[in-house]
Symmetry: D3
Subunit: 306 residues, 6 copies
């Protein structure tokens, strides 16, 4: 992630596979704020784990070119400005066929980010695989249409990513209520609840998840709310919900999805470092990104070998 | 949990299904104290997860009336006063056929609380399903008969809940010693150790646990020492023992037991917030209660439908 | 662990089965230091869990004599002095046929410690069962041949413990790179990666692990880098890697290995208390040692019964 | 603070001297957010210090009627809604001649709060005594006119509280720049910098501060950004600046100002509990409020005696 | 503090000047418990600062013999047992003319400890210099006559230390109320409030404090509730009150009192390590003890020189 | 501090006034390690306070050119390599007449850093103003001549900075002992102990300190061990000693010294972020550097005006 680019022209010059973008925005948070420091913590504090993926047997950056494209310049308290900045920065990357990896910030960011990605690939052409304890499909919360509990509703409504291109993984707990559940059913969202993982086991459900992703079409946007993990492994988030994934499982789920679908965008949201301990959450968020890098690298290597 | 009642007469007027009682007592703690702040933390700091239980598909409080009946007025350093206050406050609830949900406080509280419950339902008529890393069946510790390591002994001795009505779940570690083990065998306590969960898997043991509970008779008192969870998920407790449950399992065990037995009382003990991080323990304790609420609500709904 | 001995002569007098040695050294740490306080924390802060092992049904110290043989006198910034002190202190124990239990300190300590053990039992006669997220087989790191990332290389090179007597358990993540991987293959190290545990399940792999240990010969040195656990359970370590073991599994793996092989030395390394929370890591490190004590005690008891 | 009122009519019925209002808003924060939890922490977690003020020799609530008038209903991410709600709630109190005590939340709240107070007492008739490390007189920050760095500019511009009715106490550090400094000089703000306290001593400057307050007219709005304290005493705030007051001094400064001016409103802002330790900041914020209560009570007692 | 003695006979043999006693009791705490771990933390975790007192120019332990006489064996929840144990252990020391240094534990401990000291020196012959934010002179709290808010009442009532032999230093805040204030006036307690230190300056009040101590007679028992320090310097305590001493002042106040009066007993109470950060409180408590050691050593040295 | 340079040639091109160098080394620490993360924390986590110094009325970076010259490439466990790297990097800066600002790391770093500075200005021509709780003048500790307790001895012995060019400020506590005290007296070191600040007041001693610095000759190296501050304000350090400076005083002492002497080098050492809370220590360390920047800028501005 070493080369740090700031201008779109540098992207043309450098032609990376992946560009990392920070989106330090958290004013759409309903409970504990602080995800604005997610990008800073992932860049500055994550423990650098090496670059050779043991399970895939690959020196990642021999095969994958990754740049850091800095932060979208968000403004505290100013959603429209910030949304436009996030949209533009992701569009600058996605429009060049580079895969944006967005580090949040709260989940409202996925609205402009995924819109920019869908604009490049065509509305309706991208499948969203959304890892989260919460569906984030409310219409409005406390009068706010751009809450971090609503981005998926906005994406579906606008047609950027239709409901039947949504796969939501890891839902659990107590939200949203029946009206929104019905709306989700009406719009054809596919769910792999934590309950199903508990009942059938991770490996069995993962097969169905991969199949569902492939069936919806190959281009995928993987969006991870870090609260999909159990709070014991990822305490640093705003709306924790006990009963989530362990990292050992989630890392392998991401690996499979990256290896078997055509990932066109990736984000990791809702890391709020003020609530972290010993960088637990920062490190596991970092590894989820690293795992995706490794998968992309392995695919490029294998393609080159063919 | 909004309506806050203080007087027994209000219970008569309101006629709730459940009354929550705080018991801020921790002077019977052998190691790290601080559970006196458990009730405050659960009321003030737990992240409100919504009220629609995703797996059961139920808007909980459409079907279940819950009130907050405040705290038993305990006095620091004064066990007899505090014990009487806890007994009385639980009795005021249980005697009206309302289910008391007691938030501790240390586990010594279960002695007066379960005694009050047994007085209403008849000594010997209630099955105790006790989740804990520790059996809490010592006779005396450091000269203290009312230690948080002894309440189950007291309940068995008094006949409130006989030994053969005890099911203990999640025991592990290094305590108590052979003499107490023999006493437990002599008194017919049934154990589902963590070892068995590890060997046979959660789902298999859960079936046996449900069967054992039903066999002992339908009325159950569910008492959870939060240390039954692994300390990684519930650090804020006084006597942590590595190797416990993950929340994803315990939540479903509680759900099944609430759905399949007649829960007449419920408590969650030993949450000591000074040792918490990012409200990990407070939130999971809260969800265990919420899970029980959801199960009770579902049963009422289904009964109403019949 | 009560008797505290300081002089070799006291070992002769006391003739314990096990002698615990602290090795407060952490200057060989690549990332977060602080493991120098591991011995102090394990002695002073671990919650004393009792002494009766529930699953083995044994009062440990009725059957096993354990002494605390104090710390090797290490000197900050002075590796050669410290290495010699660790070597000597372990040799004083091992040469008397007493099992050294070394508490680190960073993993570089295992170089002198295991050398001293191998000197007593004969170079090539001891099997190293090494639990770690990292192989620690680099040749040199930042110019340092004695880094905590190199001790296993040193032991293999010197012949103290040849490569084909190495079993490494729990490796994962991104290090070391291809060159070192090849070196490990060339030297015949056996690996049980986390990936295999995830794919096949703990119990199945544990059978193979026990078989592999027995096949290599009975005398075993068990060396645990606490980072083999997932950071959610053991945050207090220098180089955390998400995706590790849960305590419930690791405790039973250690139990089986102690019961089924001839453990001649044991160490627990890389506990850095400054990064701990509520003594999570200190307590689980303590229980790994307690588990080994229990296994040794059970074997002695059973031998005595025969 | 026990009586909890929710409706304006209750204020008429109860006729308290003081009404406490929470304002859980922090989306205008430039650095660390989290002050939205300030009201909750002050109500739930502050250590209750007793009610007899030792230095003034007064049982506070024998002389002063205080009610809790709940929170202004703010909406995450929705400034205009939230601003209106804060304005209205403070106006409901101030318009009845009751003294509002507002607990933030970030300092942007003082804009609507002080506007509502000035509307009751007349624009230009209230003196603002503003304790803060920062002047909060910027025109716009990151495009945001309602940033927590701009409320004093807004109040001066609107005429609610003219510049020459501003006394700012405790300024230090590195912000704002020359342009804003010139604007402040042009608008006649009076400053008592930390530098002056250091040079001349607290007691000497306090005399001048009291004189300056009295000279500007008797009605005062005391607004405290908790970051006016040194971060060693009040770590839990968003924009800490080393070199501030110790509590022992600030408590007495507040006491004198309350005793010697006609306080018509009071607020304590920028307590962000996620960054607190052992409730340091929560407790000192609580005592600043308690100190003001004590001063008001003493004045009422002395008036009654006359 | 190295020699660790357990039996009274060893005291006779060793004849130290000072014997340190731990009193791990905190069940008399009204707010945050945890002081039971004060003795453990001071022994295990305090940073060892060296042994040469720079300001007094003395190698402390060349002149002063100090032993660690272990803990009074307290029992959780059992006040009478614990009180007797504390009384006995202190009596074993004091009766031999050795100065007991008691590490708490909560302040209720000073009741038995000072009683034992007064029994040796004669009821009425010892002056108590009591550093605390709170007077601890209540008669009864929540029905508890042995609360940590009542020990000074008990000592005065019994005549062990009459009211006119009490000097209380550092009182502030909001407790106790008028009735207890009157009782204190009636009993002739002398107070040096924080208010006076703020008004007149530390050095001026210290002169009066020393004079007052000397006037009351030379034998002094110095009892320090760590909450006499401002919580910014000593967060780890149960009932913090902002506005206290800085360590730089308190250390010198203790030094003067030790040098100029005949200290016959010393205690440091209410260190509750669960609320500490980076050992702030543990270290400053340790230095208060070290300061007293240094003063005692200097007096012995100077006496020997005469 | 924005421009980030890596090569000496860039220094020639850029010709800054100041170059900041990180020195991430902490293997010479006697107690709590972790200062290796000081440079990272100061760069990544300090709260950016603005750039206009209120008391000096100056926009700092309009007058002072500051670059970040990256880190000296230290190697864990390898003192000679690391020392050479630090020496070289500082020499690259100092030899060009640029003022090095070194961020530690532990205090052993000042040995090579000040040697490099003295080599440029001439051995004996630089006055060291050393802020610290500890004299750091031991000859050897645990066999280590390069301990963080010995760098000042090394500098004096080598003649780089003779003893009579040493001014030590803030010493207190219990170390070192008489032998080293005598050595310091023999070598003419000048001391301003915390005791003197307490007795005479900060402002009076500051005058003498400035006079002493000027008398020794104008070129000064200011070296700050962050533990010169009281641990309440700067907990994140390895060897804390209660009773130190408050930031409000130390900031002004640094300001005066920078304004009145010719500062040729500056370092801030011993910030160990693992022990920090809410960035207390990181922020105050940052402000000490900022204060020096402001003073240098003011001198340049005033010189330009002449």
């Amino acid at each position: 992630m070493r080369p740090q680019l700031t201008e779109p022209e540098q992207l043309d010059e450098w032609r990376p596979d992946v560009a990392v973008i920070g989106a330090p925005w958290d004013d759409s948070t309903t409970n504990r704020p602080g995800a604005r420091f997610g990008p800073r913590a992932l860049r500055a504090s994550a423990y650098d784990p090496g670059t050779y993926h043991l399970d895939l047997g690959i020196e990642i950056f021999d095969h994958l070119e990754v740049v850091d494209y800095g932060d979208a310049i968000t403004s505290h308290g100013m959603w429209e400005l910030s949304r436009a900045a996030i949209h533009q920065r992701v569009a600058e990357v996605a429009s060049r066929g580079i895969i944006p990896f967005v580090i949040g910030g709260d989940h409202s960011i996925t609205w402009p980010a995924a819109t920019a990605v869908a604009e490049h690939h065509g509305f309706g052409n991208v499948t969203m695989i959304h890892f989260d304890a919460h569906a984030d499909t409310a219409n409005i919360i406390e009068g706010n249409l751009a809450s971090h509990g609503t981005p998926m509703r906005r994406l579906i409504e606008s047609g950027a990513i239709p409901g039947d291109r949504f796969i939501q993984v890891g839902l659990r707990g107590y939200w949203p209520g029946e009206e929104d559940q019905q709306w989700m059913r009406d719009n054809g969202l596919r769910h792999f609840m934590m309950q199903e993982f508990w009942e059938r086991g991770t490996k069995a459900v993962l097969e169905d998840l991969v199949a569902a992703a492939k069936q919806r079409g190959d281009k995928t946007y993987i969006s991870i709310d870090i609260d999909v993990l159990d709070p014991g492994f990822a305490p640093a988030t705003g709306t924790p919900e006990p009963g989530g994934f362990a990292p050992i499982d989630l890392l392998r789920i991401i690996r499979r999805l990256v290896l078997e679908t055509d990932v066109v965008a990736f984000d990791v949201m809702e890391v709020a470092p003020a609530y972290d301990h010993a960088d637990l959450t920062v490190n596991v968020a970092h590894r989820l990104i690293w795992e995706a890098f490794a998968g992309l690298a392995a695919k490029k290597r294998d393609l080159a070998r063919e």
